[in-house]
């Protein structure tokens, strides 16, 4: 579902965020991406969501080579990927319902469909009844769950999350991870970037460690550097 082949990414300011990274996520797999801040985790997610393009190498997501995907096809590509950010990126002047509905609105879903799916997504994250509330009136944890609801509302086959539990207490973090596991169980490919190693260990899932823009850690199958493959 997601493949990186000898990928490098150098930003315009000259900073080399990734150096020769190769990794692979099979369809329906859930994987953690770990490493210190600035290691390159967010860059990997940006390359998957086509917020950036690789400087070198090849990134393939859902069969699309993102490096040469025409700009006009980028919006449709992004609709197939749910993205959860640590800072939520919610529209502060819009109620919860509108925030969660945004992916459906941009894909021209019917109003009936939007209403049904938004309520279902809010139900999944435990925020049913908060439709008319503004994000600022919610706790940080609740805002994070609104961000998750927005990421899953259009039922994307791929879900990527950048430090989704960074602002949450352990209880809420576990709930969020449980939600990701439930989504993964129904076939969604999930990639979670986190520096919370405790969370990774508790999950028992495969994780990929990045350090200084390179894959670090044990190599499991000779081509992909995988550690803690305990699933």
């Amino acid at each position: 579902m997601i493949t990186f082949e000898a990928v490098a990414k150098r930003y315009r300011n000259g900073r080399e965020a990734l150096t020769n990274i190769s990794l692979h996520l099979a369809p329906g797999e859930m994987v953690f991406l770990t490493g210190r801040s600035g290691a390159g985790k967010s860059t990997v997610l940006k390359l998957i969501a086509l917020l950036e393009r690789p400087t070198r190498g090849r990134v393939t997501v859902a069969g699309e080579n993102t490096g040469n995907l025409p700009t006009r096809r980028v919006p449709a590509f992004r609709r197939r990927i749910g993205v959860v950010f640590q800072d939520h990126r919610l529209l502060v002047d819009r109620p919860v319902f509108d925030n969660v509905a945004l992916p459906l609105i941009v894909s021209d879903s019917s109003l009936k469909e939007i209403d049904k799916r938004v309520r279902a997504a809010l139900d999944q994250v435990g925020l049913r009844g908060s439709e008319r509330v503004l994000p600022a009136e919610l706790s940080v944890g609740e805002q994070q769950r609104v961000g998750i609801a927005r990421a899953i509302v259009s039922r994307p086959p791929i879900l990527i999350a950048d430090e989704p539990t960074g602002n949450l207490d352990p209880q809420l973090a576990s709930e969020v991870m449980a939600l990701f596991r439930r989504l993964n169980e129904v076939g969604v490919t999930v990639l979670v970037a986190t520096h919370d190693l405790q969370l990774v260990r508790e999950s028992g899932l495969r994780s990929i460690v990045i350090e200084n823009g390179r894959i670090a850690g044990a190599v499991a199958d000779g081509t992909l550097p995988i550690i803690e493959a305990r699933r």
Binding site: P75, R78, S110, L111
Partner: protein, 309 residues
């Protein structure tokens, strides 16, 4: 696939969203609308004045005529034939024959030389045709063509174009109208620039929203849509403001105009802009606003990408 009703619903949603944004920033909205309104009111006001002048004078079209002095040897019967010939010209509205007999009688009455005229052996005055052109042909070019045609008659002794001052007056009005068009064009560019700048600032203010929308798969067209409606709404409200400004200005001016007209024995007042003017202002304003916002959106939206944050 979205159906027609869904498509309309999306546009209605974008329109409502744009109206909501304008309502949430009333002061900024009012300033922009007033600037646009004043810019649109200027050409409208001038147009109303020019139209008023034309209407008041009827372009002095009745005052323009060509007098054809026939040779004294031309009989009255022949003069009548020539009058009929002239009347058949498409440029001619009417032809009046002032016979030599009528002219002498008139001269006798008005001049006070009645007795002296009795001493004349015959009537020295010629038959005269007074040719009045159709209003649509009362322009200098058509009048000159007609004058040349009449002067070419062998029976014509002299042809005199009356009312050169009217031609000059109409030329001045035409000049004013052309200046008005140029001013309107320049002010339209100004309106586009004002809206474009306002939308540019709006885009900067809503950068986060645009990034998130693109992040979840919103196309440039989708993101652009509410900005286009915002520009069009600015134009509509600007047009409405311009109309109201001119209506109020005329209401204030008309008593003074009526007093001036009264001194000429007229009850004339300037007619205000009508519903058609309002329609043109609303449509034109919306189009200019749309253009301004489209230019700003096309330039700035493509530069905003979620990855840049």
């Amino acid at each position: 696939m979205i159906g027609p009703s869904g498509y309309l619903a999306r546009h209605a949603q974008a329109l409502l969203s744009s109206a909501g944004h304008l309502a949430r920033a009333p002061i900024a909205t009012i300033f922009t609308v007033v600037v646009m309104g004043l810019a649109l009111a200027l050409p409208l006001g001038l147009d109303v004045l020019v139209r008023g002048a034309r209407e008041a004078t009827h372009d002095f079209r009745g005052a323009v005529s060509i007098s054809v002095y026939l040779k004294t040897s031309v009989s009255e019967a022949r003069a009548k034939e020539l009058a009929r010939t002239a009347r058949d010209r498409p440029a001619v509205e009417r032809v009046e024959l002032v016979t030599a007999t009528q002219a002498l009688a008139q001269f006798r009455t008005q001049s006070g030389f009645g007795d002296a005229l009795n001493a004349l052996e015959g009537n020295p005055l010629p038959n005269v045709l007074v040719v009045t052109p159709r209003p649509a042909r009362a322009n200098p070019a058509s009048m000159e063509t007609l004058r040349q045609y009449l002067a070419a008659w062998p029976e014509a002794d002299a042809v005199q174009l009356d009312g050169d001052w009217v031609t000059r007056f109409n030329a001045m009005l035409q000049l004013l109208q052309q200046a008005l068009l140029i001013a309107a064009g320049l002010l339209a560019i100004g309106v586009v620039a004002v809206v474009g700048n306002t939308i540019r600032l709006e885009i900067q203010n809503r950068r986060a929203e645009i990034e998130v929308t693109k992040l979840v798969g919103g196309t440039n067209g989708f993101v652009r849509r509410p900005f286009l409606y915002t520009g069009a709404l600015y134009g509509v409200f600007g047009g409405l403001t311009a109309w109201l400004v001119v209506v109020v200005a005329l209401a204030l001016l008309n008593p003074a105009i009526a007093r001036l007209a009264q001194t000429y024995g007229s009850s004339y007042t300037l007619a205000g802009p009508g519903i058609r003017d309002l329609q043109i202002l609303l449509g034109g304003g919306a189009l200019l606003g749309w253009m301004g916002s489209w230019l700003a959106a096309a330039r700035h939206l493509a530069r905003i990408e979620p990855g840049a944050g």
